[in-house]
Amino acid sequence: MIFDFQYVVTSFTTAIHYIPATLALSLIPLFLGIIFGTMIAVCRRFRIKFVAPLADIAIPVMKGIPLVLYLFIMNFLIFKPFDMLAQYYAWADIIRYMDKLYIGIIAISIYAIVIISETMRSALMSVGKGQYEACYSVGLTRWQALWRVILPQSLPVAIPVLGNNLIGLIKGSSVVYLITVLDVMNGALTTAQINYRFLEAYIAAAFIYWGICLLTEWLFTVWENHTKKYQMRIDKHNLRKEVL
């Protein structure tokens, strides 16, 4: 079979309709990850009773599990009990139309919380002890210090890493096609299932992901520069550029 660019276009035009699904699969986990990940990181920083020691064990352990496994396990735990009941009561239709998008979102969110809690932890640690002491010396409480001084200073450190986390989530979300969720990846493949132009379909998907990721990177750079107004030196060669 000869490579035909026309089929890339066909696949591309189909797949772009599924961009919202891919965004839902990455932005909702990002949002939940920032909220809960920050809460976990703060609990660990302040050594909150029970939560901190628990997170000290749970986070490194959970970090070791690949995203696909979260997906498969969540798929099994949520879907299988349903499936069994359905077979028993012959609810075939319910299963066929059940939207597995939510399973994808849940699995990716768990993964995102683990990853982002580590991002926020290192961002919190980048703020020196002196800043806490200055807060306490002018009579702020721990939470006031956190809210007014520590978090605002952690944010510029966290943003580029969060950007990389998001890019990782966008790319990682493509695994949901394995449980038949219709995202960009699966959308591109729907045309290939008819015309067997798989290479063209994957290339179309690649272009869409590439575009989204470049846009994300650009947005986060703008945001980062915006929050960095008070920092005169910007470290251009940040080794944390490492991503998934």
């Binding site: 002196g130 800043q131 002491e133 200055a134 807060c135 306490y136 010396s137 002018v138 009579g139 702020l140 409480t141 006031q144 007014r148 001084v149 605002p152 200073q153 107004k229 008070y230 920092q231 005169m232 030196r233």
Partner: protein, 250 residues
Amino acid sequence: MIELRNVHKAFGQNEVLKGINLKVNKGEVAVILGPSGSGKTTLLRCINFLETADDGELIIGDSKVNFRNAARKEILAVRRRTAMVFQNYNLFNNMNALENVMEGLVTGRKFPIEKAREIASQALDKVGLKDKYNAYPLQLSGGQQQRVGIARAIALNPDVILFDEPTSALDPELVGEVLAVMQAVAKEGITMIVVTHEMSFAMDIAQHIIFMDGGNIVEEGTPKEIFTNPKENRTKQFLERILPRWNYTI
């Protein structure tokens, strides 16, 4: 008036404060001298609970706190009667000069913003930074940062301001401007406890000199008593080592 009774503090096996008793009167400028490792900075940090002493009592004005069982509320109350000027300034990097000075008033003490801004700008004017309200810490020189630090402390109108080696991190040519501001603060009758190596400040400004060594207060008295007629051998030795240096500066 601020008083410490029998304050003990150890870091692991290392006993840093071995039962400190100290009384500083209202409006007094007290300078703590001593070789490095004598516990003077730790003592200062215990006064506003940046370190929690293992044992002892702290009396500020009419409130009395026991270090052994200080509740979080009591600690906060003590911190709101004290203020601190740090060796490396520790300005809030995410706020400009004015916001730095306002923060303790607005967030800590719930002053209305307008009132806080008025107090903060007065404080910054006092330290000679009328034109730097909007500058961020990293845009200021070390001397200017430390003056913002002092403004942040005086704006709170505390019972006592603690100075932890406020000029040690500065380039020599910037020390003068900070000492001048400290002298002006002293003239206003604010109680100050100062840890410093600036002997000229100790001689000219202080009313009360405390000499510490090995976690104990070895000797205390007026500058005249300590500098011209020290009773203890360790004080004499210490002064002999540093006297030539300040002789040059006169």
